[in-house]
């Protein structure tokens, strides 16, 4: 086994290579903008140069004179589109700011015109020749900008239901023996998936095909149909491969319906390839956040009081928020807890999900503060977590379905060599390099959503699985193929999986790390329907319940234990049935899913359940991360030579793809601490570094050593697949671990991200 394919432990599947490996290394994987179109016209966007104000006039003469220009669409001649509500208000959109509707400008980089031409080059040239006169007013850019408004999240964001509280925080904090009060901040960040935000639209009569990288084909299909005012069954979204998502493709952006409507008007396929910098403003981003944490503890380290106040920036139009206090108030045992989340409105595009949306900023604050508390208590930070570990979350007292937090700390500490750390800051060095060790906890809610699947089995064992899931790099094809092969007892190479197409049975959004849990649970259920048909054909009716359970035809063989240990002679069963193909369709929903789940699933509303919102329990995956930083004592250059993470996330379907996700997550976490920030020119509310050279992303040379440890964990209380999502687990807490390590190296506590060499004091 190579490092990439770790030996499976208990309750792990085989580390088989990716289902889509060969097409991806040969260039044959077709992403949205690779799809062939018949005689397409090319679209190029013109975006606003001001953040607030109005368009007075377009001068399009020069642009129209460019050879090959077909049409220039502005608010003056744009096709009529219906509004779509924000996803959190029951709609599909990631923003309610609908471009090309009026002369008003809501944010910098808003789409204000679409140029259509015979070639990409001509469309680009004409777009550059569009002249716009504006009346600009002073925009409010971010926190502290004049003109912003702030208000509690509760009451303005339908998905933010409570500011978690328990006990009497004020009194307990007042009386606490040891106290910490600290303020933290995290910056704007952009997903920057490698695939641009392209859209191709082609009409065949009344039917529309959309090729677009999406993390939710059912949401996009229904959302575009709503905006166009047509039957959703006439819209098909196709994207068998998606070039990274990280949340940016989870909800509908305004570009899609605009391009679809223009294609209909021109009666011609249209291909839009926006530029990288346009991607910063035509999609969403991780908003900047601020936090104040108050921790009160007894001398022995036991928390007695915890308060987390968070503030997040959103647009004028939409009350987007991530509200990570739902997690930070429940992570440790503490009898007196208080929290408050507020939203600050600015003249910006609406932010949205970005990999671990609540946990990345909110755990940065909490896990930094825990380290500060450990320092004040003169206690090992790992021991502080152990003392405050809990089996039940403190707000409602509900038990965690499983919680391997301290086991992760112990495994990772051992692998890292934490015992070699000398606790005093500035006490470790190597030549010119100050060395710091730091650690932090990570956690991510276990979420599930209703999903359907269709499975077809042939007599020779060939199997076809159809599900409108999404391959955004997570290994979705692979784990679905493995699940079907295991469940039906057929060889893996005989399983074909079809995804990324809204004409297939609905799967939920590839977000909230729910995909493997949801889609594999659905595929298991449908495979069981096939098993039951086959077994009934060859087994006498008089079998006892016990015998039925043994052979897998019990009415509810719902746990991961039921698989190939119940051999089935497929050929014999087919002969007994007298058919050539057995095909089953089924719809699965998790316990506690609302009554309208299946209807919602078909209409593009995912109805995620899990995390702290379960009725009698709370489900999270956990991990612990350890980092070594090295800071040059003269230049203050910061390097991060080692990242070690240990994680427990229920059943690991494929240790290879899981490890890769966790490894990428650790690097994301490092990046969120040391590299990534979208800089804003506050005078103009404009993103300055909107390209891949100036928006710092990690490159290979930034990442010397990453070690991923996966712990064996079994949890039968979450979903039939026994899976906790892990795609968003590893990039949480890393930012705090790095700042904690910087404190250990230098004695300097840094509370605002990212940390750059100019932030290190002499």
């Amino acid at each position: 086994m190579t490092a990439a394919a770790p030996e499976p432990k208990e309750n792990m599947g085989q580390p088989v290579p990716r289902y889509d490996a060969v097409v991806k290394v040969t260039g044959r994987a077709t992403y949205a903008s690779d799809m062939p179109l018949d005689n397409p016209a090319y679209a190029f966007l013109v975006t606003s140069a001001i953040a607030k104000g109005r368009i007075d006039r377009f001068d399009l003469d020069e642009a129209r004179s460019v050879r090959g220009v077909i049409e220039i669409v502005t608010h003056e001649n744009a096709p009529e589109l219906k509004e779509s509500k924000l996803f959190s208000d029951g709609g599909y959109a990631g923003t309610t700011i609908q471009p090309l509707k009026s002369a008003e400008i809501s944010h910098d980089g808003e789409i204000i015109a679409v140029v259509i031409a015979e070639s990409y080059e001509a469309a680009r040239e004409a777009a550059n020749r569009v002249k716009v006169s504006y009346t600009a007013t002073a925009p409010s850019a971010t926190f502290d900008s004049p003109g912003t408004t702030a208000a509690a999240a509760k009451g303005q964001n339908a998905q933010f239901k409570e500011d978690a509280k328990v006990g009497d925080f004020a009194k307990a904090f007042d009386e606490a023996e040891v106290k910490i009060t600290a303020a933290y901040g995290t910056p704007t960040q952009h997903h920057n998936p490698m695939e641009l935000f392209t859209t191709s639209c082609a009409w065949m009569g009344d039917n529309l095909v959309i090729y677009e990288g999406s993390q939710y084909v059912y949401g996009l299909k229904n959302g575009v149909a709503e905006q166009l005012g047509i039957d959703p069954d006439k819209v098909r979204v196709v994207n068998p491969y998606v070039g990274g998502g990280f949340g940016s493709r989870g909800s509908m952006t305004p570009r899609t319906a605009i391009i679809a409507a223009i294609a209909r008007r021109l009666n011609r396929p249209i291909k839009l390839v926006p530029t990288r910098d346009q991607g910063f403003t035509i999609a969403t981003y991780r908003a900047e956040t601020r936090h104040e944490i108050k921790l009160g503890a007894a001398r022995d380290g036991k928390l007695v009081a915890l308060r987390h106040e968070g503030a997040e920036v959103s647009s004028r139009a939409d009350a987007y928020c991530v509200g990570g206090t739902k997690t930070t108030t429940r992570l440790y045992a503490c009898p007196n807890v208080d929290s408050l989340v507020s939203i600050v409105r600015a003249d910006r595009n609406t932010p949205g999900f970005m990999r671990s949306p609540p946990e990345v900023p909110y755990l940065f604050a909490l896990e930094s503060a825990m380290d500060e508390l450990a320092v004040q208590l003169n206690m090992d930070p790992v021991e502080l977590r152990r003392i405050n570990d809990t089996t039940n979350e403190p707000i409602g007292g509900k038990p965690y379905t499983s919680r391997s937090l301290m086991a992760c700390f112990d495994e990772a500490a051992k692998a890292f060599g934490w015992a070699q750390r000398s606790p005093q800051p500035k006490s470790m060095s190597d030549g010119d390099w100050l060395i710091g060790y730091g650690c932090a906890a990570t956690c991510y809610p276990t979420q599930m959503a209703p999903s359907a699947a269709r499975v077809r089995l042939q007599r020779d064992g060939r199997t076809r699985v159809e599900i409108a899931g999404h391959e955004i790099g997570t290994g979705a094809y692979t784990v679905i193929a493995q699940t079907a092969a295991d469940r039906l007892g057929v060889p893996l190479e005989k399983v074909a999986v079809f995804m990324g197409d809204s004409d297939l049975p609905p799967a939920p959004v590839a977000g909230g790390s729910n995909s493997t849990a949801s889609t594999c649970s659905a595929v298991m259920m449908v495979c069981d329907q096939i098993r039951q048909r086959l077994f009934k054909a060859v087994m006498p009716d008089s079998l006892t319940e016990k015998a039925k359970e043994t052979v897998g035809i019990s009415p509810a063989p719902t746990t991961q234990a039921a698989k190939s240990d119940r051999p089935l002679d497929i050929e014999k069963a087919f002969d007994a049935l007298g058919v050539g193909v057995v095909e089953e369709y089924g719809e699965w929903k998790p316990d506690g899913a609302p009554l309208d789940s299946f209807r919602a699933m078909h209409s593009g509303h995912p109805r995620l359940v899990g995390g702290h919102q379960m009725k009698d329990q709370i489900a999270y995956a956990f991990g612990a991360e350890f980092v070594e930083v090295r800071i040059n004592r003269f230049t203050h250059e910061i390097r991060c030579p080692r990242l070690v993470g240990a994680f427990a996330a229920g059943r690991i379907v494929n240790p290879r793809t899981a490890r890769s996700q966790l490894m990428g997550g650790l690097i994301w976490g490092m990046s969120s601490a040391l590299l990534e920030a979208t800089e804003i020119d506050e005078r103009y509310a404009r993103y300055v570094n909107d390209n891949l050279a100036d928006y710092l992303l990690p490159v290979n040379a930034d990442v010397p050593g990453v070690e991923v440890i996966m712990l064996s964990e079994q949890d039968d209380r979450i979903n039939p697949a026994g899976v906790k999502g892990l795609g968003e687990l590893a990039n949480v807490g890393t930012n705090a671990a790095i700042c904690n390590a910087i404190h250990h190296a230098t004695g300097q506590r840094i509370r605002n991200l990212p940390v750059r060499l100019e932030n290190i004091e002499a």
Binding site: P193, T657, A693
Partner: protein, 204 residues
Amino acid sequence: MSDSSSSKQSAFDRRAFMAGAAGSALVPITARAAAAEARPPVAQDPALPVDVTLHVNGKEKRLRIDARTTVLDALRDHLKLTGSKKGCDHGQCGACTVLIGERRVVSCLTLALAAEGQEITTIEGLATDEHLHPMQQAFIDNDAFQCGYCTPGQIMSAIACVKEGHAGSEADIREYMSGNICRCAAYPNIVAAVKQAAPEIMKG
């Protein structure tokens, strides 16, 4: 293959293009003077199609395209070779990397006209019907990708990295593979893949 023969096939004159398109203040004054001496600037509409012959993966491809078409867009939009990817169109991400001759180049910053007469190798040109290229196999073995969008560029870059002699150590591989961004951050696995494939590639 030579410059003169390829420009004979083309209706487009590269020197005239240089003078016409860049004949403003952006070009150093000496260069501009030299171009002007050679031939007076001819204003030519760049949108007028030009004939270009590209040699891609061992095949000759004749195209009639906008003179501003990059190698990347020529491959993707005109030759239906969509393996090379557009990630930034600015030469910042490396997803469009192809080999021109032995050199790895970002095809989004290379005009198709400038590649005329040279051998272009793309990701589609590596595998034979039966066999993957050793670097492709190494990427699979080491799970050196997730979403796969940067992968064609990574693999082309990795092959050149080895042939340049920059795969001698892990530190070297990391340094010389840093022109290719992988947002999924498969970096450690990419290093392992390059390390695995290097001896086989050097053997030839």
